[in-house]
């Protein structure tokens, strides 16, 4: 399935004790539809408050029901801040997490003297104009295969911290600035720390080569703060055989 959610009222994707998660909410809808306790496997976790335009998840069931009917049936049992956009039967070998090849995240800013009421849940509201060119130059330094250890939440342990980022770019359309990053995988909080570092660069609190430097020193303290969760959206997941963007645009 491909699903979208407004992460505002959830403590993230993955089931955990201290709050309601997207995963458990969809698993509950699956229980209502199939009368079976079914485990849902997502392409990866999203943090508390992070949104998804196209998260991918799979589940196994022996219920006899046309695969494309699941989307409509699940939506009848889901709250309005979670929508299943597409369901299809997949190869039994398919695994939403292990088969994912690339992911794309977007981080949205609204840059204006006063906050925007309509995007307040989905974009970080900035009242001072950052240096766009400095942020764009810093974004270019993210591209490539690097050890991103400096851009991982301190306290996390992860054996392999090398990731490949394919594209990393800021776009602005009036007050709406969007950072889009595509890569083979992301460490815990990596996109939010990259954005926090670029925001510090854009505010001239860090030099424009701060990202390049942190990729060399591998030191978390050379990177900037973690940007707030609500600006971040999982935008796209790419698999060898399909891409959420292509499936959704075909469906529209």
């Amino acid at each position: 399935m491909i699903l979208a959610y407004d992460g505002t009222n959830y403590v993230g994707w993955q089931t955990q004790p201290n709050g309601i998660t997207v995963q458990e909410t969809v698993e509950h809808a699956l229980l209502e539809v199939t009368k079976q306790q079914i485990a849902l496997h997502g392409s990866g976790r999203t943090d508390s408050g992070v949104h998804a335009k196209a998260q991918v998840a799979h589940f196994d069931t022996d219920v006899r029901m046309a695969a494309d009917k699941f989307a409509i049936a699940l939506n009848m049992h889901l709250p309005p801040d979670i929508r299943v956009l597409y369901t299809e039967e997949c190869d039994p070998e398919f695994h939403a997490r292990f088969c994912a090849k690339k992911k794309q995240y977007c981080y949205r800013l609204h840059v204006a003297p006063h906050a925007d009421v309509f995007s307040r849940r989905y974009a970080l509201q900035l009242h001072h104009i950052p240096d766009f060119e400095a942020m764009q130059a810093a974004a270019k330094d993210v591209i490539g295969t690097h050890d991103f250890r400096a851009f991982m939440s301190s306290g996390t342990t992860m054996e392999n911290t090398v990731r490949t980022v394919e594209s990393s770019e800021w776009l602005r359309d009036g007050a709406n600035w969007t950072y889009t990053v595509t890569g083979t995988g992301f460490l815990y909080n990596m996109v939010r720390i990259l954005v926090g570092t670029m925001l510090a660069i854009g505010a001239h609190q860090l030099p424009v080569d701060a990202i390049r430097k942190a990729l060399e020193t591998l030191d978390r303290s050379d990177a900037g703060p973690t940007a707030p969760a609500h600006g971040l959206t999982l935008a796209r997941v790419l698999y060898p055989d399909f891409d959420t963007e292509e499936v959704l645009s075909r469906e529209r």
Copy 2:
């Protein structure tokens, strides 16, 4: 002042007994800032659940405070779903309602098999694709000076039901369809009934000339149903000396 609000949690602009209104919320913030009980006069009412991208309101005060500081001070005392975007001192003769020359409203649709979680509060979600060309043809019939009595909530009394609509047009950008209408004034529920009629035309439940016919018969029952409030946004108010769009784009 120019202000924006997400109308979801308000029973409209104007103070009334059965729920919290935008007007009383801003008047309360004015009390906090000035320690004076100040009456706020809006350019017009918006219904329960209707949003505003640019509502205009004025108030009188003898508090000594730079006019442009009011926006920042008021926002400190307002909930995040109401933002004052601009404040300036005006001529004592200025009246937000009586001086308004034209208003512009937008009505948003999201047309896709499943609802969009991000626009669900601001756009009507349609799962079947209406006939765009029929709706566009019907929109053209709205333009001009007409007696719009058929497009007024039944039960309302209003002596002069003649209004002039300057532009009336649908635009679509993928799943996002927007109707924009500009006129000298609008009757109670007029935009929502116009949209409801065009949606019925788009679903081939009413003939494409239904609007033209209702403008002749003046009969409410010849028009379509009232479209839901949450798709509607007051987008722009125009005065002889200024236009909210022009002021806000200058401020950005």
